[in-house]
Amino acid sequence: MAATFGRLTIILTLWLVAVGPLCASEDMSGLSRDAVEISYSAFDRSKSELEAVIERCDKNREPVSSTVLSSLGLSQQQLKTALFVLNSRAEAGCEGGAREKLFFTASAHVAVAGHYRIDAKDAVDYAGDLLFVRQWQRMEYEAAYLRLDARIREKLEAIDAMKVPFDIFRTLDALAEEK
């Protein structure tokens, strides 16, 4: 009796040793699948949000009044620099953090997918390259803008029409026509 019980115990132990990890891995694969799905959905949602925000911010762009700008005595290149920088800032304000959120959720999905050694798909592009377009050149524009006289910058930054995304090239055309 004791021998039979002993054998049964050994068989049960062996069965548990063999099947236990299978059950656990099945459980983990379910969890990991959900984890990947959750992080991809968060990324995909943020992507759609940024797409919608970009479309909205791009609508109804108006040129900035040339009268105010021409009175500041800036050279053509200084004007171009100021228009680019202030339009970029206005766009960032209009996007309201949607770009940063997409960068975060895309990076998070890349990290999650990396852990499970699966393809992060298009999240890889949005975790960097597509969101930092010629960042060095943007910074050069920013640096050139900061070299303008502080009082001129104050006047530029006080113009209401430059606090929302505006039409850079129609503004420049209007200034050229005025001259």
């Binding site: 940024l50 797409e51 171009k80 680019f84 298009d122 592009d125 597509l130 377009v133 850079i168 090239f169």
Partner: protein, 109 residues
Amino acid sequence: MACIPINNVQFSPQSRDAIDDIRRRMEAGRVLSILLPAGVMATIFVGNKPLIANYNITQTDFVTFTRAMSSLPAIQRKVIRDIAAMQALSRTGKESQFWQGVYDGCDIR
């Protein structure tokens, strides 16, 4: 902006860099190659063939490109427009006109 044909536009090293940037970023999704299968603008922005010395861009080329741009997802379209804006503002003459055409497209919407 109306489409303005540009004859004999030559690209500086800075513009060539910018074109490479657009090509590389659009390569990933391959969307632009589907939307812009042929034409002068496709030879400039799609694929990896070396750029030639100069290009003649017709009104039709700009119209085709603008239509392709309007079908791109907004984030990718903004990538191209941001690069084009920086180039248009930092280059001069026909090169600047070309980039402004890329940025603004034609008034076909």
